[in-house]
């Protein structure tokens, strides 16, 4: 009923509001019409025209009153009142521009920081793939194996079985990152792309703007379908937007591929961190991946894949189904699948791209920006308290002339809404500018486009609107709360207020400052802890030398080399490189430590070692060339290094690290003992020192090495130890490679230090962001302190003047005021330290070799806070000493 009425009278109320003139005109027309008819009747009764008119007016009553009554009867308009409040609010805010600008600035910073971080989380963790449909139902798919770290690849046959057997999933698709050397004209460049299943483009709902996607059946066979879809960026930048591009041939890894389509602008593939530039079907796998043809090999776990659930299916249901399928596969293929399961991961936990490395940073950032928002709000609260004091008079007058409490509250809320609205708009603008800022914090790398987009969608908007709403309530209710005490305040006005009296009145403001100091202190302590961690992580030795070793790679898979040619090429290149001036040694290896590549892993067996039941010891290992240890500077504790003699015809050998030796051989000397690798027995010929393999943060773990020639891969990394600068090396190196084969391109040439820095870049990003925000928080807290102290000084002018008159020196007054500021700080630091001791543990994964309760960090934060306090209090204190006692006391 009431909605019906609301709906039926909507046009009427609309007219009342926006056609006010017309409505008024109609009202007087209506009444005049009535009068005229009455006059007509009176005339007919025989009255004179004048008499008839007066009689009619008398009968009707005062026209103006009736008009007013009619207007009242039409009711007061909510919209109209609101617009009136808005206008009034704007006028009020324009009247004190300093207050308004400061408030809006605080809110902009608070809301902007939140919206920016949230947009990063949204764009990187929750909806990481622009232009991909239904990401809310996408999950990542990765293998698990008993006794191994989670998140391995899946084999292609297993993937096909999953696809066939699952009933709860819409689509399974593969997207395995790969790289290729693209030579167009005389410019060769390494670029990133994906090996995908044939259903890829259909599954993600991306339609090529030119040509077609990959079609069913094109992912079957070995090198059977040399087709490629290229990205819009690649098409524009490398092919100059050629409209006839579809159907042209492009050599990728020395195999001619037909370009069959171009993806739309703004589609970057499905990999967090890097933009993909081409997509080739899985049938071309051998062209791009080392390790041979793997589409029929159930033990080759190489693919990275995703699954989209059917609507309404939960992750747990899908996981149950997939586990059931994996169990079936385990029973059918025990040789390859024993102890293996397949696990679903939320996109933000995807084990095979950069999402999980950024997760801890983004988690911390979310907490930090919440702190900044609280500090900003405390500042705004303080500003409002001062302002509400200044507006006491206005409020009393409005109350005296009959404004109801509700009406005043509405007015104050409206003003709050204006401020918060501007703050939110500013905040979204800040977030918009910052949405691509995250990528700037990462060190640039050549050839590969980093892509970490922020996404400002309805969820980010909703969050900002939510913050805005809360801020509005706070901004409106704080002054309203103060307005309740108006009479009391008025009564107190006459009394002179000393420092102590001002304190009583300003308890709320002081409370807010203590709160701000407390939060800033926590942030500062956190920032220092992170800084310490970064410092330690960057000075910790990874177990190999970093400064003098240069790392690059030559993709022989990309060059179309077969195994024999590749071996020959590697030997020749090593010889040529070693002959370069300034080069001490050079060695190939399959994987560079701390890089993106994953190590091979194998179950092992050792003579005399009885593994505990159910343990299937699988250990990571690397295939390395002769002189690898000398080149990287990994000390050999005993035994000897691999040589060229350790080739495919020689007996199998291995070098184990110290942790592995301790676990499997204890105190005995492992040299000469047997180690089973991939089912074959090898002799241990040396023990190497422990080093870092995948991450600077890892604990020492068992690891071993086998000669590259005895377990050959074509896509290895080249490490060079040199005494000359990197630039000299890279030019010479490229010359040597081109002397052997003009069609090969080098990967980026970087020092191992650079590699270490890159692997710790999430820490760097966390430190940078937390430091920026802690600085911001400190600034806001200083503004808050300054405000409170200025106010306190202004309030206690008489007392201070009296003290001056009685002979107190400037130093006395400075001490009085600053010590009051320090008291507030001390209280804030006390609470901050208490909370900080509990909270810094949350930094967890980002800390390295630093206790979350590190006294140095807390001490440094205390020092910074104290200096800031003194700085913030100094100006008000100095002003206090400059008062003219005679003038103040006279007033």
């Amino acid at each position: 009923m009431s909605f019906e009425r609301w709906f039926d009278t909507l046009p009427l109320r609309w007219r009342d509001r926006f056609r006010r003139k017309q409505v008024d005109q109609e009202l007087s027309d209506e009444l005049r019409d009535h009068l005229e008819q009455q006059i007509q009747v009176n005339l007919e009764k025989g009255m004179s025209p004048e008499e008839a008119r007066y009689a009619a007016l008398r009968a009707l009553g005062g026209i103006t009153q009736i008009e007013q009554q009619c207007r009242d009867a039409r009711g007061h308009n909510l919209i109209e009142n609101t617009i009136q409040d808005l206008r009034y609010g704007f006028r009020q805010l324009c009247r004190s521009p300093g207050f308004s600008v400061l408030t809006i600035l605080c809110l902009t910073l608070g809301i902007g920081a939140n919206a920016a971080v949230f947009s990063w989380a949204e764009g990187i963790l929750f909806r990481p793939y622009p232009a991909v449909a239904h990401q809310e139902r996408l999950l990542a798919l990765a293998g698990t194996a008993r006794g191994e770290s989670e998140g391995t690849g899946i084999s292609w046959p297993d993937f096909l079985d999953l696809q066939r057997s699952s009933t709860l999933c819409d689509a399974f698709f593969v997207s395995k990152i790969t790289g290729s050397t693209l030579s167009i004209g005389d410019h060769a460049e390494v670029t990133t792309g994906s090996i995908v299943s044939a259903n890829y483009f259909d599954a993600i709902g991306v339609r090529p703007i030119l040509g077609r996607g990959i079609e069913p059946g094109e992912d079957v066979g070995n090198n059977a379908h040399a087709v490629v879809v290229i990205s819009y960026d690649l098409w524009q930048n490398r092919f100059k937007g050629d409209p006839q591009i579809v159907g042209k041939m492009q050599r990728l890894n020395n195999v001619p591929h037909t370009i069959i389509g171009v993806t739309p602008e703004g589609f970057y593939g499905t990999f967090v961190g890097w933009a993909m530039n081409f997509w080739a079907p899985a049938s071309m796998e051998e062209t791009f991946e080392s390790g041979g043809y793997k589409l029929e090999d159930r033990s080759a776990r190489w693919i990275e894949s995703y699954v989209r659930l059917k609507p309404g299916v939960t992750r747990a249901q899908a996981q149950d189904e997939i586990t059931a399928i994996a169990t079936r596969l385990e029973a059918s293929y025990p040789a390859t699948n024993r102890g293996r399961n397949i696990k679903l991961w939320a996109l933000w936990q995807t084990p095979f791209n950069n999402a999980h490395t950024l997760l801890p940073t983004l988690e911390i950032m979310t907490a930090v920006v919440a702190f900044v928002l609280l500090i900003a709000c405390a500042n705004v609260g303080n500003l409002l308290l001062v302002r509400s004091f200044a507006r006491r008079h206005e409020m009393s007058v409005r109350m005296a002339i009959g404004a109801s409490g509700g009406r005043l509250l509405k007015q104050l809320l409206t003003e709050g809404m204006i401020l918060a609205g501007f703050g939110a708009a500013g905040g979204l603008l800040v977030a918009y500018w910052c949405r691509h800022a995250l990528v700037l914090l990462f060190p640039a790398r050549s050839g590969i486009a980093m892509y970490l987009p922020g996404e400002i969608d309805w969820r980010v908007m909703l969050l900002s609107a939510g913050i805005c709403l809360v801020a509005t309530l706070v901004l409106g209710l704080v002054p309203a709360f103060q307005a309740r005490n108006i009479d009391l305040a008025g009564a107190l006005k006459a009394e002179s207020s000393g420092v102590t009296a001002a304190r009583r009145k300003a308890w709320m403001r002081s409370g807010l400052v203590v709160f701000q100091v407390c939060l800033s202190f926590i942030l500062l302590a956190g920032a220092v802890l992170l800084l310490e961690s970064l410092q330690r992580i960057r000075t910790t030795s990874p177990g190999f030398s970093t400064s003098r070793v240069v790392e690059t790679g030559v993709s022989l898979v990309a060059g179309g080399y077969d195994v024999q040619r590749a071996k020959t090429f590697q030997d020749e290149l090593i010889d040529r490189v070693r002959a370069l001036p300034g080069v001490e040694s050079a060695a190939f290896a399959r994987v560079t430590p701390l890089g993106y590549g994953t190590y091979s892993s194998t179950p092992i067996a050792v003579d005399g070692y009885q593994p505990p039941l159910e343990e299937q010891p699988a250990i990571d290992y690397n295939q390395v060339g002769p002189a690898y240890f000398a080149t990287l500077g990994i000390p050999l504790l005993s035994g000897r290094e691999f040589t060229r003699g350790d080739d495919e015809n020689a007996p199998l050998v291995a070098i184990v690290n110290r942790t592995m030796k301790a676990r499997y051989w204890g105190d005995q000397d492992p040299i000469g003992r047997r180690l089973q690798v991939k089912g074959k027995w090898a002799r241990v010929i040396g023990v190497a020192a422990d080093s870092k393999y995948e991450s600077m943060r890892e604990d020492p773990k068992p690891f071993f090495y086998v000669p590259l020639l005895q377990d050959f891969e074509r896509g290895p990394a080249l490490n060079i130890r040199a005494t000359v600068p990197l630039q000299n090396i890279s030019a010479a190196l490229l010359r040597e490679v081109h002397a052997l084969d003009r069609n090969l391109a080098l990967y980026e040439v970087i020092t191992l230090q650079e590699q270490v820095d890159r692997s710790t870049s999430p820490q760097l990003v966390a430190v940078t962001l937390v430091s920026i925000l802690a600085g911001l928080a400190l600034l806001l807290a200083a503004v808050g302190l300054y405000g409170v102290m200025s106010y306190a000084v202004a309030q206690s002018m008489r007392e201070l003047a009296l003290r001056l008159a009685l002979g107190a020196g400037s130093a006395n007054l400075l001490r009085l005021v600053i010590s009051r500021g320090l008291k507030l700080t001390a209280a804030g630091v006390f609470f901050g330290a208490a909370a900080g001791l509990a909270l810094t543990r949350l930094l967890g994964k980002l800390l390295y070799d630093v206790s979350p309760r590190d006294p140095w960090a807390f001490g440094a934060a205390l020092a910074v806070m104290t200096i800031t306090t003194v700085a913030a209090c100094f100006f008000p204190a100095w002003r206090a000493t400059r008062t003219d006692p005679a003038r103040v006391l006279r007033d």
């Binding site: 019906e4 009425r5 039926d8 009278t9 009427l12 109320r13 109609e26 009202l27 027309d29 209506e30 009444l31 019409d33 009535h34 008819q37 009455q38 009968a59 009707l60 009553g61 005062g62 009153q65 009736i66 009554q69 009619c70 207007r71 009242d72 009867a73 039409r74 009711g75």
Partner: protein, 111 residues
Amino acid sequence: MSKPSDLVQGTLDMLILKIVALEPMNGWAISQRLQQISSDVLGVSDGSLYPALHKLERRGWITAEWRPSGNNRRAKFYSLTRLGRRQLEKETANWNRISTAISGIVKLKEA
């Protein structure tokens, strides 16, 4: 010019709805009809008629429309809405119930 009593005020709405229910009318005609049927008893002044009309319009019970009336003039004609008809039925039923009860009490006293 006296204000109608509370009882009458409550029933004025019902009377207007009832009058307008018969055919769309302008303010003047409604006032004439009111006087014609009840002026002496209820004492509804023209002055209280218009605010009442506007209130009813705002409540969505009647709706107004400008149309030509005699003498080349345009006048505001009020007519009953769907909501108004429901309200009229409700008020009429209410009125009947109360008046029956009251007249019952009055008769009881006489007996």
